[in-house]
Amino acid sequence: MIAASLPRQRPPDAKLLMVDASGCISHNPRSPFSQFLRPGDLVIANDAATLPASVQGVHLPTGGPIEVRLAGRRSLRVRDVREFSAIVFGPGDFHMRTEDRPAPPRMMPGDRLALGPLSATIKELLGHPRLVSLCFEGSADEIWGGLARHGRPIQYAHIPAPLAPWDVWTPIAGPPVAFEPPSAGFTLDWQALAEMHAKAVRFATVTHAAGISSTGDPELDLRLPFDEPYRISDATAVAIRRTRADGGRIVAVGTTVVRALEHAGRRGVIQPGEGLATQRIGSRTPLRVVDVILSGTHEPGTSHYELLRAFTSDATLRRATDELNSHAYRTHEFGDSVLIERMRRTPTDGHHRAGAKRLAKRRWRRRIFTTVKGSCT
């Protein structure tokens, strides 16, 4: 795949690779998104706005320049903005690949950091030289003001020009609690929402503090995603219940929505309110809530790719990856998209819905698709 190096949220030539419930793959233009939806579907997006979570400053005990990337918090409470977990780099900025960034100075609990108008203290080391928890000084309003003035969006070297805040806020962005953009939401603009209304497709949001996607350190990357707080409103919980009762599909826009919904619905029923998503989703995770995921194009080995394995078989994902590569799909946050329907499982798979008769029908249909599109196994 090719790295998308321009911060365009909805390029007119954006592509979408669709994998349906029987594993059939098709190539489509991504717009209009409503073409992939059916009346009665419920589309759920993450409405978190993106914090300017990259903060340059100085490690005061050594005088060494550092870049702090805020990476996590415990809750979404308005006043709870003092304490964050953070990845710390030595000198430099996004122009250098994270893998090549120098380590930060050796940090100890109690060390003070001067971060532009903000001051912070290292609270704990979190088992890796780059990962700490820190505490900002001042009132909540002062911390918001300092971040707003001094912080910049977290950015990686595949985009050479500095990102502006409007590059990383989705059109529906609300509470500023994401550390990196919930970028699947770039797909949705107000026109797309209007088309959904017209097609009797429902729309709802969750707020999920999307964490960082890369630390530049393979060992630390294995710990991703970190714990992420989320909030599900009563209205969204009701919409999910209604959609399921009416036989509609739950379409999650992005991996963060899957993580929030599957965490809130882990006991079968969606609990509205705030929660902390701590689970990892992979090939063995039964999906209890989400039927379809819209996501970016992800490389095997990343935590995002692992999550996709909950939706469809490894063989199908391998074929999808081949298709993405051979058709020059773009990757990363401003790249193209995949839409994956949860695969109908065989009866021996455990969490299936399909009976043997439906399975036989599907095999027949699949054969037809194979002839037409040539990409089914």
Binding site: V78, W144, A148, G174, P175, W190, S233
Partner: protein
């Protein structure tokens, strides 16, 4: 008179129905309200009115010291320093509003620029004065509303309602000589409001363009230096009428 964004309605009849102190006050308890230009004149009166009705208020203005002072003096308010006429200030302002209030139910775009002072014939008006009036009175409200649209839509979906109030003027409809830069910018804002309101009906977001009337404010003193304050509306009276209109555009809530 408060006039809704109805093109056929007159916007000129100013003091016809001043609010009476005996009218019941509609509470705005628990609502999250942001007000630009919130440190003086009508903006400050709106801050006080909304706080008195139980709202949480974020006030935005350019002057750091004034913002701090007003925020300090008004319990329950949050002061945000920013200039709505500057594009780069948009997202820092929006982020602080939703961050500090935990979301947003009501946005009041009140900050305004008069154009040239003293007022001037259009032929004598510098381009820069028109640009500044448009940046503050049209582009500023457009950008801030756009940046906050997601938060407002979320509030509407959750049944809390969502209102954007853009402060208009009778100069938006009437061609008063000397009011060219201001009048043209307010006309643009008025029409922008009406179109956007149509577009957002399905999302449950209401946009209002209301004329508060000629008030005894620092801005009016700049425009008409010799005016007799006794002939002008008090900003507190206008603020009360505007708050009633905002409350009327929100869903009736069971919890208040």
């Amino acid at each position: 008179m408060i006039v809704q964004s109805d093109p056929s309605a007159p916007i000129v009849d100013r003091n016809a129905h001043p609010a009476r102190s005996t009218d019941p006050v509609v509470p705005l308890a628990g609502l999250r309200v942001a007000i630009t230009g919130g440190t003086s004149g009508l903006g400050l009166a709106l801050v006080q009115e909304c706080l008195a009705r139980g709202a949480c208020v974020a006030l935005v203005a350019r002057g750091g010291e004034r913002v701090q002072r007003v925020a300090r003096e008004h319990r329950g308010s949050h002061g945000i320093v920013g200039d709505v006429s500057v594009k780069d200030d948009t997202y820092p302002i929006a982020m602080q509003i939703t961050g500090e209030l935990g979301g947003l139910d009501v946005l009041i775009n009140n900050a305004s620029d008069l154009g040239p002072t003293p007022l001037a014939l259009l032929g004598d008006t510098a381009c820069e004065d028109v640009e500044r009036a448009l940046a503050t009175n049209v582009l500023g409200p457009f950008r801030l509303t756009k940046a906050l649209l997601g938060a407002l839509a979320a509030s509407a979906r959750e049944g809390r309602g969502a209102v954007v109030l853009n402060i208009s003027s009778d100069a938006a409809l009437n061609p008063y000589p000397l009011w060219g830069a201001y009048g043209a910018s307010k006309a643009a804002l008025h029409h922008l409001t009406r179109i956007w309101n149509e577009e957002l009906v399905a999302e449950g977001i209401h946009l209002l363009s209301l004329d508060p009337g000629d008030m005894d404010t620092p801005m009016h003193a700049l425009a008409v230096p010799g005016a007799d304050p006794a002939t002008l509306k008090r900003p507190e009276v206008a603020a009360r009428e505007l708050a009633d209109s905002v409350a009327a555009a929100l869903p009736v809530r069971a919890d208040v």
